[in-house]
Symmetry: C2
Subunit: 447 residues, 2 copies
Amino acid sequence: MKNIKEILNPFFYPKNVAIIGASTKPFKFGNWFLKALIGFGYKGDIYPINPHGIDIYGLKSFKKLNDIPEPVDLVYITVPASKTLDSFIECVEEGIKAVIILTAGFKETGDPNFIEVENELSRLAKESKTRIIGPNCFGVYCPEGGLTLLPGENFSKETGNVALLSQSGGVAVEFTRLAHTYGMNFSKVISYGNACDISAADLINYLADDPQTKIIAGYFEGMKNGGEFLKSIKNMRKPLILWKGGLTEAGSRASFSHTGYLASKPGIWDGIFKQFPNIIKADSLQEMFDTLIAMMKLPPPSGKNLAVVGGGGAIGVALSDMANRMNLNVPKLRPSVKSEVKKNLPFDGSVAANPVDLGNPVYRTTTAFKNILHILINDPTINIIVNDQISSHIEKSDFRSLKRILKKIRQELNFPIVVVLRQVSKKKDELDMEEKHRDARDSYLSY
Amino acid sequence: MKNIKEILNPFFYPKNVAIIGASTKPFKFGNWFLKALIGFGYKGDIYPINPHGIDIYGLKSFKKLNDIPEPVDLVYITVPASKTLDSFIECVEEGIKAVIILTAGFKETGDPNFIEVENELSRLAKESKTRIIGPNCFGVYCPEGGLTLLPGENFSKETGNVALLSQSGGVAVEFTRLAHTYGMNFSKVISYGNACDISAADLINYLADDPQTKIIAGYFEGMKNGGEFLKSIKNMRKPLILWKGGLTEAGSRASFSHTGYLASKPGIWDGIFKQFPNIIKADSLQEMFDTLIAMMKLPPPSGKNLAVVGGGGAIGVALSDMANRMNLNVPKLRPSVKSEVKKNLPFDGSVAANPVDLGNPVYRTTTAFKNILHILINDPTINIIVNDQISSHIEKSDFRSLKRILKKIRQELNFPIVVVLRQVSKKKDELDMEEKHRDARDSYLSY
């Protein structure tokens, strides 16, 4: 049997791609994905396949796989559910190694006929050399392989250290866009849907040895073979930030309609999160992203003790409440540290305690801010510093000071400091999309 | 004894204001607040008071309150903590009715000397006609009274139905700015700090009868007299959205440093939230704001059953998980409703269940979307509809359709529909402030 690298490489680094169900109609999936692949600048040959053999975007189309004059590495299937099995059989007969099936409407419908089709796809894949990602997925984006089958023609061309493994196509696309906005790049993004053949465990095994991938973010709903999954994460030496969808009763039911799996019981996952310290739990897309940013960018803290340095009392209260709710500590300052901090707080209304209230605006006295950070970093009972203030009060020159101070600390001490820069006032004309949102909302609200 | 309306009206509708501690130095509080008051366009006379009698912003200054040629309604004190008592005694001697003390550094320091000063302020206020909001607060913003003593010269001049009652000045300013960004206006905003005289209970009693105020948002940390507070909310017939700071051990300690109160034990507040159905719990500024928007804008739902209508499977899973965690239900659709919904779902990959997965982009078929909303609204087992999709996929024409459909439903049926319009991709050059944030971050992260 081939190893997982040989099996999966053709999905990420195909020298050419055929799209069965390629369409000229702009709102069809079979058009949308083809357009993204071309727009992204995929360098290999692209072979659209449709029954009429109509050329699309200047590409010569074919009626059948067999008509293509060279061996094909990767086939993407976007035909209706009722025609998917025939298309896949064609792939098997042609000896294709890698097939992504976008088409939905199988196990997740609960309809016995379509469940049987999915089972048949699964059987055929196991018995042949033709392996499947999907069905009910978007597929892969791999900048190193020069392709995206996820709809993202403007996705970054640069390779990064993050892999994203998502059962949902929507989450895969949304997360990738969000990450790009923050300048983050990916090694591989995989939307794998119902996983009738290649499983989350297979993909984790592959990513565990992928030299480009340093950290994995995952959105999972359910899986067939829990034992195989546990084995894959047991062997993996990379951190996995995992958003598990369907941990509630309602969520689990929704998950069944989505990917055909009843998400397993919450208790089981509590156990998994406890057993594997390299699996970090997230409860939303945003949390998965924030955790990823923190893990990518900050040195690991040496403990759970937070010092909060803030620009106003309520911010300190809110951060302390939040820290305690997440099982982090905000310890009292030791008397010697407290008196050191106090020496650096010149203003009325500032407080030498944990949280430290610097007064507001906080960056006014660069030296005080810097000194206080150093005092806290030198205190061995403090493991992380969180600095939060109302950023609308920050002047440009304050930003320059902040940059200088933080850069120096990073270079010399490499201590985990989280700086919260909040945007509290937006100009109304700043955000086009937000305008559109408000417009739509207001038509509902202010009739 | 005067009633609470007579006592508090001079704070919100003063015909003139004196500022003790007014300063020409741009970073002093005594300059910042004066500038905001002038910039906001306050129409009454403003009398800066400072020991040198230096004119500020073209306003004639005075050395003492007594030098002002007419009776003063409201005095704002921003002198250092050590001089606050003297300034307040001057107010008492002049028979001033309303005094706001910005100055911090009293009870919250834990220093017996300054605790005693605060107690003395409190005693003097009780024994005289001179009442205090503060110390350690920003004061009030009242568009109807034409003034802001909160630093917000660009705050809205329009009166709205929301009152904000905040122990923290920072929360008061940040929340007001956030609300303005969304076009929401206020009746009164009050930052009341340590509450050495006028208490949260007094302010609630006043707002309970304030004709402009329909709904109250509150950020509280701690209070002296819990019984008085409970009595005030018992008598109030308006909803109060309450963010209680300091519900954890660390938060409570931070709260002591902030406003001089140890926030009471979580159990007590659980009981209060349970006992008073018009008090709605929020756990952050954003949650307080979102709850406020929902309560202001949506008709009250008749029960806890949600129908989720979405543009992708994982969104449905995430919303269902979230709903269950908040004790809302996402019931199965009844068979008759399910088959009605199914008739309106033309696409492969759409799912007639709860959540309804419309396929993506969802607004493509306006009629289907409209019909499905109507089917769900007519189902008496559904009380709220939540509609969520990836908004970057929405075209301008889709927004027009969405607006038309929602507006008509609102006018004819007035059913609570929450439409989530998410902004998933921002252009990098869109947000000035965000650029600055990233710049500062990157200097720390990519050295």
